[in-house]
Symmetry: D2
Subunit: 345 residues, 4 copies
Amino acid sequence: MIKAAIFGASGYTGQELTRILSGHPEVKLVAVTSRRFAGKPVSEVFPSLKGLTHLKYQNVNPAEICNICDIVFLALPHGISMEIAPEFVRAGKKVIDLSADYRLRDIKTYENWYQKHSSVQFIKDAVYGIPELYRQKIKKTKLIANPGCYPTSIILGLAPALKKKILDVSTIIADSASGVSGAGREPLTGSLFCEVDGGFKAYKVGKHRHLPEIEQELNALAGKKFAISFTPHLLPVKRGILSTIYAKLKKDVSLEELHSLYCNFYAKEKFVRICPSGQYPNISSVCGSNYCDIGLAIDFRTKRVILMAAIDNLIKGAAGQAVQNMNIVCGFEEDAGLRTAPLYP
Amino acid sequence: MIKAAIFGASGYTGQELTRILSGHPEVKLVAVTSRRFAGKPVSEVFPSLKGLTHLKYQNVNPAEICNICDIVFLALPHGISMEIAPEFVRAGKKVIDLSADYRLRDIKTYENWYQKHSSVQFIKDAVYGIPELYRQKIKKTKLIANPGCYPTSIILGLAPALKKKILDVSTIIADSASGVSGAGREPLTGSLFCEVDGGFKAYKVGKHRHLPEIEQELNALAGKKFAISFTPHLLPVKRGILSTIYAKLKKDVSLEELHSLYCNFYAKEKFVRICPSGQYPNISSVCGSNYCDIGLAIDFRTKRVILMAAIDNLIKGAAGQAVQNMNIVCGFEEDAGLRTAPLYP
Amino acid sequence: MIKAAIFGASGYTGQELTRILSGHPEVKLVAVTSRRFAGKPVSEVFPSLKGLTHLKYQNVNPAEICNICDIVFLALPHGISMEIAPEFVRAGKKVIDLSADYRLRDIKTYENWYQKHSSVQFIKDAVYGIPELYRQKIKKTKLIANPGCYPTSIILGLAPALKKKILDVSTIIADSASGVSGAGREPLTGSLFCEVDGGFKAYKVGKHRHLPEIEQELNALAGKKFAISFTPHLLPVKRGILSTIYAKLKKDVSLEELHSLYCNFYAKEKFVRICPSGQYPNISSVCGSNYCDIGLAIDFRTKRVILMAAIDNLIKGAAGQAVQNMNIVCGFEEDAGLRTAPLYP
Amino acid sequence: MIKAAIFGASGYTGQELTRILSGHPEVKLVAVTSRRFAGKPVSEVFPSLKGLTHLKYQNVNPAEICNICDIVFLALPHGISMEIAPEFVRAGKKVIDLSADYRLRDIKTYENWYQKHSSVQFIKDAVYGIPELYRQKIKKTKLIANPGCYPTSIILGLAPALKKKILDVSTIIADSASGVSGAGREPLTGSLFCEVDGGFKAYKVGKHRHLPEIEQELNALAGKKFAISFTPHLLPVKRGILSTIYAKLKKDVSLEELHSLYCNFYAKEKFVRICPSGQYPNISSVCGSNYCDIGLAIDFRTKRVILMAAIDNLIKGAAGQAVQNMNIVCGFEEDAGLRTAPLYP
């Protein structure tokens, strides 16, 4: 059993990590931190976890945690992770950072979209934690930059087509919709039930901070520079992201060929499922699980592919992918602790 | 007071017409038909309408209705409207058909996407009932083809930009999401609460029957032929459509210019509201009303406009627009019976 | 046209008042106040109201408002209304207070459940604003204590049975469930979409502040002192309250007799609808309207009546009832501005 | 590994059994039946299960299934189970029947509330499958009558208080609310998203078929005959039941004593959690798990206890409890396959 700790464990992502790690066969969760709830049992803040963990939230220094754990998950806002991660890396611990702080390899891009970076030297050693693309690198790193939720869906949705170079990359548009848990557990007016239920709207059109991260990875896959349009929407659901992605085909491709391409690309992946032809993914078929479901269509009238990718934003889009990365970096079975079926209906 | 009847009044659109017409100051609703609920009071099928109408559903011939009404609304499936409308038109009554039967001016297109048409000769006299575009023609016709819900949002969203010819029309993509009432009140597995709540998915990708109708009108606005991509999604809400529309700009346009263009185009319209710059429409801000809210963005990195249009699919997307058309064709104030504010939250 | 102002207009109840008064044929809304949003147009805070009001929120003294209006609505927290109402009453204005400050006729009870009262002398002149029970008194007062949402449903549900003395009043239990808008628009963790959606729970069991108000009115109706059990629950809906009320019958009563009793009691009421025998009220059949729907059942095995009353908590449970009271006190038609049908589905 | 089959596997309960058994460490699921979907892969009907089971639905005779399995789950409507169960029992197989057919020990009561019974002789050997009450009997039976969803919540909520005889049993009222999955996957108008979302209503007041089952078990616990009032409500959620139960105390009991009574009664139970004093259960804290959360309150003003019990109706209220019963009857760890934490938020 390895010993794990979670920093920032009282948000939705931290709660989800707590939930998954409490049931993980190879992990002993030794500490969870929260400034706001310090001293309170986890099960008081999240009654759903009663009987599953006896931990209390602590407000402690990284140094104190460092001594007692082998791996640490940082479920902290960007800007704070960069202050804490270095201490753990230097101490030889494994770090899985769920913030954006180590995702962008270009420091200028990071500082344009976020803020001044205080531990730039660690960026080059961080690995962007999409196992389906970077499994070998993940095995060897100490610092995993766990991907954003929107990026996970868009990158997995586009990877096979980009690698195969069948798309006119200048035409890529990602139209995404996310459940409200993506906005976190902060009490914001915009996240109130009455503001969200029955509603649907776009937000941060063309300006969402996940954009540079998405483009970095898409450009790497395609082997060239290009920009995309990305429009996030707020869905009146708790969990789930669906990205519907449009691009012009560079050459004629049949739906069968496209389907084969995707099935082959992800043939050995436990957490990517390609929908049968003519079926499209539904977020309610992945929620509660670490799956990414991908659906494919071709609009022959306009020579566009339409790629749809669905994930649970808190699992494959955050905590589940973090645990998948932990499994890889620790040498466990890649789906250990992650075999829960989607909760449907 | 004119006398109105509704054919097919026990579906959601028929119910909505009943609701609106029951409160309309210029209209006496004299008959509502339903095969399934014949003999039952409307208020038994829809307890919300108790005290608002004393009508019972009837299963009657058009001929019987024709004698007692001045205007008839057909809230029937396509294929059935075409059998009933002619009798009313011939009798000099006004007909507002909410099915697709008279929307497509090209008969071949209709028959490709729907079925054999049995009253082709009436198509040429029918007017496509978007008041913001065809008000003068609507005033003079007897037969109004009330637009589909998705088309209403997409056409209103694109009209000013197409008329002004600022878009590369070959790049238009409409990514839309609709509430479940769009699927009607038939008891289908796919419309069950447990199948829809918490879910989000695309359906009929590139194949939805509203596509030819959308393209007919967009082509007319642009004055040339082109095809678009259109992807409908099913939203876990009862009412509302949001269409997020993408297109490349042909030339440089600032957001201020775009905003002015839209404000001017719709300056005299009572039911179109342009969001302030930087604000985007939310379906929950229009639901319960006949408004179409339009938001505008420009992604300067990719030279694309992103147009967002929100409507209540049962009101501006169906029954409300039908009543707006009635008001025009009957010479009433255009917003008579339609002044209800959106029900928010 | 009378001139009306709303204090505390940026919460959900204030918004609802703004919405209703903006469309009221006899009222000109002249001022709306909000500390938080002072200076902002109403339509920026609530885009649903764009085009319906051009007012901006102000942060002003009561004195300034007093000069320009004939009637004032106080949609303020308890404890604040009591500071503001007296100035208006003294100036001869009509005041409709939506807080609890003037609802309880017994000052000790008020101070036990709420706080110290600073304008006790006004309590005796205030009328508890349930028109169906106190219409004559409402006509003559200057100060209306608009009822709470839960109390409205429970009092209307029990009034005929209590007046007729058919119940063993010691056995009354009110089990109620409310939509989230009842908690207001404050950004509280417990009102977040993710905390509410998919959930259902009781809260403040036996301790809700509406309890003394409910008992005051039920005791008055029955003509004797007694206590009830009242359990509020939080429903994952935006609007609506359903109260399911249990009591033992003192004597044999048939369902037909019970039904007649209720139909007769409310025969002249425009806003109370009695469900046909065997039908029970659904909050979705009243939401968006000022109706209270009441359903009746008798469990003959246990000699209990089960009374069910459904309202829209923001309308009949707050803003709509306030406008109904205004209509009465100002001599307008009692349903002026309140004829909107429920928005179903 | 034992071999299990599910009859009627394409409803929501059957799907849930399939989901749980697919991940059960001691079970090999060998057959699932469905008339409607015969020939189709489970994963086509329920895409959420793709990759978790490769079974196809079959339309087969019990005899064919009998040969290949050790235990059979009957997720069939009442009236059909009674035709199928006997064959399996006679063949020495274990049967877990999720219908009502063997729940009522009094045949007249069964036939009054349901229909003619065709295999009466098996009723006396059937054990009512609430493990917390009948674990020893369950171990030894071949035929388990798996409890209804409402009864599970009400029986577990009342058991300690009834055993301890602190309640005036003539005053018991159970006010319950259930998610829509309780109505099954049949396409009924009343289960449509648009009919349910935003709504809340009582149904079958005093007449629900779970009533005799509830009373049978409560009477057994109390050791005497009595009737209760039971009102089910339909909640706009997919999963979850909350029962709020009222009863007069026969003698003075403090909240601490009540809390101790419940904690002790369920001290060794893995699936019953007693909320800390002052906290009440929320269905969203149990959904996705086999837990029953129980909350306690005393209304000292009226000498009533208010007991609240929350379960996931498809898990502890159906499939999960069935698997718990299987674990007991097969000698597995009682929580095998059931350790999944609630999915919150």
